[in-house]
Symmetry: D2
Subunit: 418 residues, 4 copies
């Protein structure tokens, strides 16, 4: 027995090892008795409700979840969570400082990274040190946009076309309505996708210093309410989001445009710096980069890079960003090449960095503290945070590529992991 | 001025608003003075080193980062982090219980979700309640595999071909070597990619109850060391990973095969249940699903779904999984349709759920406590955790699709977010 | 032996069946003796040069390649081919007439299809007849654009940024220069991609009634020559195309925007029409569509559809379009659903139909004759040709989905193929 | 007015230039009167029926479509076309000869290319000459497979799972049935995709010297007929193809595996050869390759390459392959780098070359003549044809990359195009 079939059969055999297929099928059936008693839902965070939830779970509050500090900060979590039972504690390491020469970021930034993966902080720290030793990286926010894509169904393409014409004419009104719902965001542009008798209007916003997903939802709802009421052609169905915006998903559309902030960062490293920090030559890193770039292309990723997700997840968690956005942010391009002078040129480009310095989880106590450490808490800082983020990822690419190029990768993981 | 160009120009104008282009260019230059003083790197976690790091940062330990509980648990973080300065506290909510009828999962599971995004727990809770009211979801791990892809460069395709022939012959030896490095993992298969004079061997492992990324790295290194020594044809370059494995990245290859565990889950909901929990009919949800599926297709996602990343990130963080893996796990298919009896059929399928119940962050105090709450801590539980995870995501799809189909989406976010 | 490895090994065994690996390696080596004598290249088409080429090939002119008609039309091929030795004769079938109600197309169009694949014309004919019986399809060109993406390398991202600022300012000049090279095309917009120290300017053109690839190359070259001369910042490398335009390739960028013409077409078919032409109910087709749409999503195509490439290739070849463009045009979405009245609603949407009615191969004798048959030869007809093309593909989707839904698919191929 | 919106508005204005929106909507409506009279469908090719079709079209047979040679060869087209009205004549150029050192191809091959695109033959010819001057390219078929993916719907995932178990057990029977329908093809393997209550069985075949799409359809139908009759679990729906096979479409699945033949080819070119044929240095080509590879990655193509589709379409048409397969074949990787000796190393890798030397259009007169010219007509030649095809595309990549790297690209198109 050969091929994929042989592996499927082995998998089946292991499942059927101790039982027969009918027992398994029985096991998979819905079971109505006894009925499940759901936890009573609640959105308010306070000691009373948390205790009730623990009672419903059926155990005493676990001291590693509902620890004293958490118990003293109930009110800080209100509005960020429902059915609150405590907190998850993620180890926090510090890397850097990373010198960033950006449009918004200027200076040396400590890099707080929350992760449970051994070697991650060490690797990013090594990368950050190399960059700082070279005078820092250049990092630029090259565009900013966040979208919401309401969807509309009509009886026919003819009506859909009329709707598009009306929507284009009404755009200034849409802008006024959208902008009236927020003092920070602005409706900037709209893409139009006509697919048969369906229309998706892909609204593009700026969102100030917030990551902005809620802001653009509320603004778009205001426009949709207007459309619902005023549209001169009959709409069969109207949805505030038709799943075209790419929210929380790696998408071709976001990859080739911008979601959140598009940032690009570069650094030039001399052979001396490489020798000192990673015991490697530019050539070694470039050789590996080329092979790994083709490896990425062969595996079919969006862009080619090493491990953007590692640094993104760790920084997003540490600074109160939406960790789910790692799914959409971890796309882009890492490029290494030799300069005419024999140095290593390295750059990263990411079309979808989703960060804010106000709103969401950025006001939670430990997250706010991390932003303060970086000097990036509160308004006017989100551009700088995005540029620091790109610099961090550049350091991560340098470090992992060096590790893989020189054969240190396994050793480091062996040594640092528990 | 029209088109994309007009927006680029506006962006440029805003940058140049208060300054000129040469000042900006100056700002972007590397700056060598004063030199950056990196934090002294350390991998051991203890009070002494943490205090030294805070001193290097230049501030007193922040009480929301280095809180009393964290200060009392230094030794618990050793081996999961470097340059430790404290912990990030993520609000933890509880959803469910979710009844899961799986190959491995059997019973009613509380769903711990760590997130700072308002409405997330409420939405997953609502979905879980619907599923449980229907007797639970069926959930099946249909395949398990984790890969590492060492890369080899040769002088020519001829030599590369000889190498492939030798590697295929030597595979039993590779297996023995790989399997000798771990008592849990097994080298099961190998894919071969010959690209010009380059070869990528895509090793496929089972990893027991661990997520297993370190395990497969160490096992693959053992094989590579053997190849380095024994291979009868000259190898120009050898790397333990050639970036073909899809590690931490959404990739076509992982999407069309399996990374971690491939899981599929389904539930049938009556009109009564839908009416009770989300005030909607099957038809409303199916209409929205169809439009949103095409929306996803038009945006170019890998698979079509609503917001897998939200539930994945929250469960991964709560249970000590690698949050960076959200990037590779958040792919797959959600399908809604009407049954012949007029009920709603809903399913989700994910090719790359990356979870373990031992190793990584699963032993950290609050994470371990969450796994214990679920009854899934320690060995023999990873299959069940993957099936519960798929059930959770099924609930999340039901809830968000209902919210968008009925127009509740914005209201919920408006009400619950701060 | 199991898995992918077992199949690789079988493949290797079959190669090594009658020989050993060293003989094979020998076989694969470059061989310098005797030297190869290349055909003398020539771009002029006439009898003399064609005869010389046949002599170089070493055989008499083959009468099925250099037939009398071809021999009498040498001058007609000049400027469309080099090293001319005759013609390839592709069987041409006629389907339809197809009634199209478009922005540009209005009326009943014969559909000339050049193909060697049995059942193809029969299938498209069946689809066209159904559509015409329903009063024709609605078909709309929703956007038109063709791009060329010159690429520029700089010493640093700083300089690259300065270049972008200058290029945005100079865009009116670029337009004048570009537009001066052609009386039909217009430079409309420019997208900017800054990746480290690299810049891609993605110029977007309208191209009148030509498909326009040469037109936009020549226009872009004029702009590049100007940039080369006048750009105030030093450019390291300048290329007229940096492979970002998506020319001749399925790309995410073209898929989510437009290359050539974006067209969408729809039709509503009653149960009676379906019964008469394909002996099926709307429900049967919709059930299959849904499953096949998910099948397409699972296989990872750009969009979901059945077989756009078949109709595209056949129409492109028949009407003198560039057959290589099938690679970039065969993307998009087919959607079937039930109308409130119980009819079948069907639509197709393609973002990259690449057709012209002047230039390229549209002036070749048999190709021109086909365009004349359709009433679409010469200028002012390319919009209509694109709309007819979408209608053709809509018919093809209806026919193949009906065949697969009812089980006729294999029978038809069995019966019609030789 | 800015952004994408401004361009949409301009497009709308141009549509509404001479008319109003209601007139346009009217134009787009279905029109039932007068009814369309479809051509009488026929599959037999002969003079009588062709004349009837021309009568139905309403004009005399066009002499450039129904030329004397075509009129004398009616019977040769039978079984390759329906509703036959004549032939499309595509200019045929000859490039090469190309020396190929392959597993199957051995020797110097003339390259017949059917195209109407000026400069195409000249460019491929130049590339072929360079390769031949270097002793030829190495080219290897590394795997062969063609798939068909029947789809099955069940009441639940439980039943679907039982079906999979039964199908795995029954696979030997499936093989016997499939193999009994053809003397050339073999059912080799099966992939299994369980998505909720749906199952796709992805059958993998070898197809001898035919391209094989019809062969695998007929073989799969035989298996499906058996499943329909003998399957012990109730099947709701069964389709011979569930659109998972990737037939006629660029798909992630085919890209990361094989459809047809996976072939890789390489050549090493000295600076002297490059200087002589394209007046360029290895460095120039490598610099451009790197930038264009990133360009391709940024545009989101499957793989990175220059213009595979051009050579594929021209060779496929010339040799009677299915031109629609260009859509699925034009994927893969081109890689250029410098050898330690300072030469240029170049390779191409394509996972889905779809060629046969028997069946389909390969028996048509001019197509057969081209295969004979190449010495590759009839059985036992398809492996060699695939290897020559990869060599051709390697030449095409060398030539276009040289043209773009040196600035010759526009000049060549300017000079050669009409």
């Amino acid at each position: 027995m050969v091929g994929k079939r042989s592996l499927t059969s082995l998998h089946l055999e292991s499942l059927l090892d101790k039982t027969d297929i009918d027992s398994i099928a029985k096991q998979l059936e819905p079971k109505h008795e006894p009925p499940v008693k759901p936890y009573f839902p609640n959105s308010k965070v306070n000691a009373h409700r948390t205790n009730k939830l623990w009672k419903a779970i059926g155990t005493a509050p676990h001291p590693d979840i509902l620890d004293p500090w958490t118990g003293a900060h109930f009110e800080h979590f209100d509005g960020n969570i429902e059915n609150f039972i405590g907190t998850t504690k993620i180890p926090l390491g510090i890397a850097g400082p990373l010198r960033v020469n950006g449009l918004f970021a200027q200076g040396d930034y400590p890099l707080p990274l929350a992760t449970s993966e051994a070697a991650l902080v060490a690797s990013y720290h090594r990368g950050a040190c190399m960059i700082s030793a070279a005078g820092g990286c250049t990092s630029m926010v090259v565009y900013q946009a966040l979208n919401r894509a309401p969807a509309f169904a009509f009886d026919s393409m003819r009506t859909a076309g009329k709707f598009v014409a009306w929507a284009m004419e009404s755009f200034e009104t849409f802008q006024q309505l959208a902008n009236s719902t927020t003092s920070h965001g602005k409706l900037v542009d709209v893409g139009t996708t006509l697919e048969g008798n369906h229309v998706y209007l892909n609204f593009e916003f700026t969102t100030g210093d917030a990551s902005g997903q809620n802001m653009v939802t509320i603004a778009t709802q205001a426009v949709c309410d207007f459309i619902q009421k005023e549209c001169p052609v009959p709409i069969r169905q109207l949805y505030v989001e038709g799943n075209l915006s790419g929210d929380k998903k790696a998408s071709s559309q976001a990859y080739t445009t911008t979601r959140g902030r598009k940032v690009t960062a570069e650094v030039v490293l001399t052979p001396e710096i490489l020798e000192k920090y990673v015991r490697a030559t530019p050539r070694q890193l470039i050789d590996y980069w080329r092979m790994s770039a083709i490896g990425g292309v062969l595996s079919g990723t969006m862009g080619v890079h090493g491990h953007f997700a590692n640094g993104l997840a760790a920084l997003y968690i540490a600074t109160g960003q939406d960790a789910a956005c790692v799914a959409e942010s971890a796309m882009g391009v890492t490029r290494f090449e030799q300069t005419p002078d024999g140095d290593l040129y390295a750059s990263v480009t990411l079309p979808g960095i989703m960060v804010g310095t106000v709103g969401g989880g950025t006001g939670l106590p430990s997250q706010k503290a991390c932003l303060q450490l970086m000097g990036l808490q509160g308004s006017s800082n989100s551009g700088a945070l995005a540029e620091v983020c790109a610099g961090l990822l550049l350091g991560g690419e340098l470090s992992i590529i060096a590790a893989l190029a020189t054969g240190d990768f396994t050793k480091a993981h062996h040594k640092l992991a528990r």
